[in-house]
Amino acid sequence: MSLFRAAGLTAGYGPVTVLQGIDLEVNEGEIVVMLGANGAGKTTTMRAISGVIPRQGTIEFQGNSIAKSAPDQIVRAGIAQVPQGRGTFPELSVEDNLRAGAFVRRDSAGVAADIHKWFGVFPRLGERRDQRAGSLSGGEQQMVAIARALMSHPKLLLCDEPSLGLAPLITQELFEVIGNLNKEDGLSVLLVEQNANLAMHLASRVYLLETGTIVAQGSAEELSADDSIRKAYLGF
């Protein structure tokens, strides 16, 4: 069942158009990975979906168009983003970061319970709950960012290069968490990465993005089977 669909998505910054009209789809329960090099337009795609930059084209979520929605409406609809570079609120405590993630919710008891739950999933965050988020390590900040995004109970999680700047061990840990959420809670994920190796294991389907256009798509097996794509993009 199609959860999210974009057709002819075009976006850019000022006079520069970065996305040249791409088509994208995420079905319920899927983990979709978008691979691309620096400058391909991955973060632009994430930003366009979350509504923080002007965009054109068809964008539908659960059958409703969100092409003209404001960022807060998109969060309320059920899409949350873990931005590139973590994007934590550095001056706020870890706990306040999570509270901020739950901004669109009104059930304060539920929010408190969720915060407690996340401190269980990420015990290191629980130990540092009152610490300024900016003083945490990269991996810990990434945990904060993921937990924060999930506080709003999204149905679709957008992850922008979660492995950036992190050691492989931590990245594995994080991907495990995401994988579990997908399996157990049915969370759908759109993950963009430069580094194919780590993400491929999770992916149901893969898109390859190059200078604003999708140059290849298919299942992870299909793309791995294609020699030229494998060598050029997947590095093996």
Partner: protein
Amino acid sequence: MDLFLQRLFDGLSDGSVYALLALGIVIIYRGTGHLNFAQGEMALFCTYVVYQLGEWGIPLVPALLLGMLVGFALGVTTEVALVRPVAKKSTFAVFIVTIGLFQGLNWLDGAIWGDQVLPNSAVSKQQQFPSLFPNKATDFWNIFGAGVRIESVGIFAMVMVLTGLLFLLFNKTKVGLAMNSVASNPESARLVGIPTNRVLSFSWGLAAAIGALGGVVFAGQNHTVNMSMMFGVFIYASAAATLGGFDSPGGAVLGGLILGVIQNMVAGYADVWVGQQMKIGVAFVVIVGVLLVKPSGLFGTSKVERV
């Protein structure tokens, strides 16, 4: 000792006004990164409005609340109509806009109410600009042998209460969380669904309303209102914000109080050297001193970058 206490409380009272305006400056600065040059003039305009309401027979407290409401509206309108469209272009342009607003509001005050000191027996019904607290020469308390003006104590207490309320706002409410989030990382704030634009408008409105209170209190202390009243106060408030740290509301209040006390002590004890004219020199010295020693101020975060 009695002179010391007197000067201390006078300093706390003066400093409370600086604190109020410094709060406005800091709330806007940490939320938006802009320095609102027109903070003092916005406060002055609202003060004139309160004067006018007084002329129409409205008692001080409702007039003050209406004045603060006018201030809130003025702040929101400024952010939506003047700052937001221009901020997309450059911070320099926003700065110039606030300077233009500084001059424009000041001119408007004169245009509407004239450039003489008010109340004026020729044109006004009121004898003096009203004060929230009793402030006749006979209204003082005897504390340890010093005559401390009731007004001074009242103003100081009121500002402390306000500071407490703001503390609650920033730390215990969703609105405060939203403001802190936007101040900390505006892009992420949007990504978690915080309506960033409305938060910015609210910040400006809140800052202007607090400033309005400061202006009315100041006019009450001086019994009058006039066009050039807030120039000095604005620079003192800026010095207070510099001292306390431009992104710390608590620092702004403390900075204001400290500055008020220093100023009164220096003017009192070194009156041969400092005297009335050079009181403003104190503000100048404080700003330069802080910049030399600890540019981020007492409580500011060291996001302050060196060149």
